[in-house]
Point group: C2
Chain length 200, copies 2
């Protein structure tokens, strides 16, 4: 309705610009904030302002950081000679939540995508190469997404890095943990078969 206070309409407009929030969700959030203790909206506003003021990409790996280095690059125990290349910082969070990797990361900032006009110069590949010598990297793990663009980018990087005599590996693709074969799509089944390994 056109009868809402302008400040309320403006907040609803800003909220619906966020991913995963529609008009109804925005209304619920706005009403919650109107009925909650007054400081809650203020704390959220302050946290938003601090986000862009204090969080910036890590100068080395591109992960989100406070200060010049992210917590992983600042930790000398993570200098294992391995580098895990991912598309976006959120992929680092997924790996860290899995607690399955001890080394450092490198955020590409996307994938090669000729149709969208994304070339190798648009990704953080030079920054990746600049790290190899100083950090004594012996293996680059290519952990781009299992999509067409992610695969193509992994192959491109593998070729470019192997010309420098570097070992590159690609994370495995196959049936996910707990996955039922009759629910798996044909492409996944094909990859799971191709990637089969000797048992015992």
């Amino acid at each position: 309705m056109a009868l809402l206070p302008a400040a309320l309409e403006r907040l609803l407009h800003e909220l619906t610009r966020l991913p995963g929030i529609g008009r109804r969700g925005a209304e619920r959030i706005a009403l919650h904030l109107l009925e909650a203790p007054p400081e809650q909206a203020g704390q959220l506003a302050e946290a938003l302002a601090a986000l862009r003021r204090e969080v910036r990409p890590c100068g080395l790996c591109g992960n989100w950081a406070e200060g010049e280095r992210c917590a992983i690059c600042a930790d000398p125990r993570r200098a294992t000679g391995q580098l895990c290349v991912v598309e976006r910082a959120v992929d680092i969070w997924a790996f860290e939540a899995a607690e399955a990797y001890q080394g450092r990361y490198h955020v590409l900032g996307g994938t090669l995508s000729p149709l969208a006009g994304v070339t190798a110069d648009d990704l953080r590949i030079t920054e990746l190469e600049d790290r190899l010598g100083p950090e004594g990297i012996s293996e680059v793990i290519l952990a781009t997404n299992a999509s067409v663009d992610g695969d193509a980018t992994a192959h491109y990087l593998s070729q470019r890095l192997s010309e420098r005599g570097l070992r590159t590996t690609r994370i495995a693709q196959g049936v996910p943990l707990g996955g039922h074969l009759d629910y798996a799509d044909p492409g996944t089944l094909r990859l799971a078969l191709q990637g089969r390994r000797p048992l015992g």
Copy 2:
């Protein structure tokens, strides 16, 4: 993971306090704001600050308003002698979206709930009675929710207001528009039968 920048963790904490936003949704929103043009987070922060600064309950009906009166109470064309009593301001928005009512509203601020310790003094009932004379109200439409507490509150108000010789009505309960009978719950079917009306 414990490795996220503190400012990012703080924003995730504030976002997950909002209704309908979990940890994953909060991460998506935070990343979106980090990757979006810098002004977007600032505009959202400013809209949040303005919300509590500029939006307050209307002095008459309790709807959210900018200034002393909400847009509905400020509009003399809505002085129809009818008053529609609702639990919360969001119910006004629902009625306005339906464009089915021309009069004014009154927000109770909840329902009677003896178990939760909510008595008639906690609701905006005196404020309601104070409006009856000055606004020349001839009918009070009780549009509390179709819940146990909503029904009980409607009956209490009906009794209290009819002692003053006022006509009170309750919105109809029954099968919703487009509702299939075989999906309707027994209580709704019972109400739909009890509320049947002559046709033609």
